[in-house]
Amino acid sequence: MNSKTRTLLTIITETSIEQFVCRDIEHLGARGYTVTDARGKGGHGLRQAGWDADSNIRIETICSPEVAEKISSHLFAKYFDNYAMVVYSHDVNVMRDKKF
């Protein structure tokens, strides 16, 4: 089966802004996303997921490199100063590239 390359962008951030970030990435062209609950530690300290204010989420979205670039720039501008957030990306092989 021939597979194509797309970009997988992963965003780790505060649960409190889940709906906003998901809405943003959809507006910027992502066709879907997956969310898992997480906890962690970083520049903003320990976030142990004991209750809402202290919880993280991990959002993944597979998209074209261009959309990934747009999303990261947008997140950088809008959230990085004020929210616990980490964003990274890498290439992945997908089977139906038209889907993403």
Binding site: E14, S16, I17, F20, H44, G45, L46, Q48, A49, G50, W51, D52, A53, S55, Y79, D81, N82, Y83
Partner: protein, 314 residues
Amino acid sequence: MLDPIIMFFLFGIFAGVVKSELRLPSQVYDFVSMVLLLAIGLKGGIEVAKQPLGQLVPQAGAVFIMGLLLPLVAFPILRSWGRFSRADAASIAAHYGSVSVGTFAVAVAYLTTRGIYYEEHMPLLLVVLEVPAIIVGIILARGLSKDMQWGSVAHEVFAGKGVMLLLGGVAIGWAAGPEGVQSIKPFFFDLFKGILALFLLEMGLITAAKLGILKKYGIFIVVFGIAMPLFSSLVGTGVALLLGLSVGGTAMLALLAASASYIAVPAAMRISVPNANPTLSLAASLGVTFPFNVLLGIPLYYEMAVAAHRMMGA
């Protein structure tokens, strides 16, 4: 003697401080707080049905105004003495102008155990007091600009878990009345204190985590976290006397004024005042004011209410 639910809180703090692995899964914490919020709402709603509207409206109005004013007192203090940024000062002020449902639940348990009467529609005033400080906080932080999205702020406030469950409980309690609610009493009312005990155990664990952070922010936050509720409780006592509340009701309103939010307000500030540091306001509200109110404040405000009523009676 200490109420056992307070001991659960102390036990939680202890377990947190000794770094125990004890932890309530967040889903269980959600469950437990949902039940508490609904139970408090239901109890209040049943009573609201009994009150003449002509009495509820002025009370709600007075409490709403108190909620507008308290953050306006806190803000300049936080700015000048606390040297906090505008956003941080506004956010902390909003926390202290609003209320803590957990603290209220402990006060309910305190008064009930001692058989002290209070106006049982208090949960309605609780809901009323949740909201105004949030609006004031947002305006203090961002000014009154035209492009404020008040619609989404309102949604953030009313559609948040806490306010929604309280209002839902009040509405159901009001519509179903005392007999209607009878069938769900074993779950929501008979288990209330036991569930509150579990809730306070987790609150103790969370408080212990905030204690560590407190050090980072220095002594001012500790002083403010005790002085501000003391001041607010005086305001609350005064308002209660003006409204002609009973001794128990006076203590309750003092406590509502004195308590600092840790659910509705932080959630709203995180969205509407993103440049405020949430760790700071939660360290104050959960690390200082919650334990202060639960351990010392409630009996103190009650003594104040007794003394005030004695003075007024004289």
